[in-house]
Amino acid sequence: MIRLQSLTRLALAAAFAALPLRAQEGGQEGSTGGGEEAAQAPTDDSDARWFAIQGGDIYTGTGAVLRGATLLAKNGRIHAIGYDLDVPPEAKTLDARGYRLYPGLVAISSQGLLGNASGDFRDTIDPFHFRMVLGLATGITTTGVGSSVVKLKRFSVKDAVINERVFSTFAWSNNNPRGKSELRDKFAAAARYQREYREWQRKVKEQKDLPEPSKRGIDNNVLAVLNGDTTAKFSTNDRDELLGVARLAQEYGFRPVVEGCQEGWTIADELGRAGVRAVVTPRARRTKDERQVFDGGSSIENAAILHRAGVPVAITPATEGVDLGGLVGRDIMHLPLEPGFAVRGGLPERAALESITLQPARYLGVSHRVGSLEVGKDCDVIVTDGDVLHYKTFVQWAVVDGKVVYDKEKELFFAHIRPRPEAEAPRKIDAGETPPKPEAEDGEGEGEKKDDAGGDERRGDDEPK
């Protein structure tokens, strides 16, 4: 029994533009005559909360594009994506014709979007703070904060924290050789303890009185990494330090997240082999050490080269807070702008989108819930007026858990900038806004916008009903 449609099936659906996708709930598939392809509202959950975003071009974030399709959510989860879905009459709807749907963006790290929260986020998130509005306006629906992962659930703090204790943070610096050797010793000791403990687990079944191996002197953070309970996080840009981290990771079999990675392009193959996962800022600058014989310094091609070497790339802007100084384009409010600079350096558009959606979701251990539009995942969606990576594109609506929590027209900050046309005139996005791609990359449809201006259909209310 297939409970969830796979990514492949989603892509196929896009290709053939026919089959709707839905969660097939075993034993509840009683047809009411809507045809095989219609998603059925099961009769036994009359109090279910339904929400449908209709008629938009759905960019699932996994490579598929479904033009003019519908996304149906039930109780805050994506229930179906496809065409001719049977939307229950009581469902709230959002007319997205002429717009695009993308997965809500995932900031690998940010500051201030949760208000002045600190420490225990469960208690200190401010779901009414204006910076949360700016975060949603940016398209961010989930953010890493320290070692926690929080959804930008406006108006509510209930279940906003979706993961905790994600990272164990370590330092690896050429300036502190002793620190490096101490960390190596800790990994060695923890690995030894792990082996002893497993052996003890095996033997203790027969030798009941066999003493448990001593955990004394074992670093809990390191042990958590080796047990797969947390992810090791390093922050370095230096080639030698990156190599050191890669060797440590290879030796002890873990996949570190490395922030910075500016000289990663010089040793991308080594990082790829070691399973390093990168967090990069494509515009970050580092001067080459002129005493160094190797390549060095920052390169605009860094993200592209890492990607080609199999290193996953998440992208974060230079400033992870909201910068209200007026020098724009480099802070968390311009998260979708930053991957554009990686594209400039050769990163495929699809990997660029993943760098602010699926990859950070994976690093943060929440990719089963957010980061792409797939049946069964949380209904965290942004509806935009164009390519999310284009500099002119604005988020029109942000949806978290199947609820519209941001509507550009109704908020203070950006409503005056290219306001949405009235409901009477179905909107056509100017295809010319997107620069033509000289070379087809990834086969992701970057093509013409469907001209939906014809026909007698009048647009419904922009309001979710």
Partner: protein, 421 residues
Amino acid sequence: MLLALAITALQADTSAVAPRAGEVGGPGLAVLAAKAVGCGPGGHDVVDRPVVLVRDGKIESLGPAREVAIPAGYEVVDHGRRWLAPGFVDLHCHIAGGPGGLGDINDAVFLTNPELRAKATVVPRNPLLQRAVAGGVTSVLYIPGSATNMGGQGVLLKTGLAKYEEMVIRDPGSLKLAQAGNPERWTVGVGRSFMNWNTRNTFQRGVRHGRAVAEAEQRGEPAPSSHQWEVFPPLVKKETQISTHTQRYQVVLATLTMVRQELGLDVYIDHGEWYGSKLAAFANELGVDAILGPRAVDLPSPILDTDGKILGIAAEYQRNGHTRIGFNTDSPVLPQEELSVQAAVGVRYGFDDARLDSIRGLTIVPATTAGIAHRVGSLAPGKDADLLVTTGDPVDPRSAVEAVWIEGQRVYDAEADRRLW
């Protein structure tokens, strides 16, 4: 006869350094691409499937490939699906002196220092200039800092050429005026009214000298000379302009009334930001162009009642009636190579781009503002062959600059060299 042979042999020997196609003295060059933007004298025009003919460092002609015949002997470079654009012009640059804090002058000697020269510190082909080229920036106004009300004289430069003499487009490129914002910190601190008085006083003395020189020249008499006031004769003769770091309502107003109305000098808003846009229509009427940046938005603030809106500065200048809007970086405040990003964020925050004013704001507008549009700012016959090859819309951060010619010299090639930006 023998001598002639020897000379021929000598010429053959030196062929390795002979000018390449497009360069001065070299054969002609024909560049083909999918699209050219920033064409024509006004920089409005777009040509599909263009061919640009370059000879002796100048654009010879430009038109659709099906209409323009490529003369025999021209080297043909076909860039396929790439775009062509004129090189960008930044009128607020502090990086021609290179990295490491040894660059730009910012000598706070007096509160007004019209005699100091930024050109003294230029380092050709320094790493920052090379990256500027890789970002498509081919012309800059390199100016002193704003520690005082008059930091000194700027110089207009081509970014990618090897020698200072080749780089200079015009010297003095401008007199740098900083009406407020930083000079308050001079010595023990000075206030707005004293700065205005002192600036006016300096101007009046300088202009008096400038007029005396101009009048003497008209009468054919020997002109008085003054190192201190040397920038004023070209200012009075409208051979150069005043580039003004000016922002906020009262400060922009002082620029318009004092410099433009009272003194009648050519002046433009440079480093325009922070609520100056309320004066856009007045500035436009007075012929004072608006070169905006590095800040691109005005945040909700009690200074300007924005009613909670985040306002694009370029959008506001445009909405309030200004028709000549350009962009600057104030490099290194923003990296020099990110000039085009300033246009992109301008458009993002509401600047109407229906007439390609984003590209014009990077090219023909600043070129006209600085009085160098006869040489740079658009792809038009007779202008310098400062030419960018991009992978798409040159304003889009995703579009990379693949190659750059300055005056017919191929100064950057991302494929052959390492991609710098």
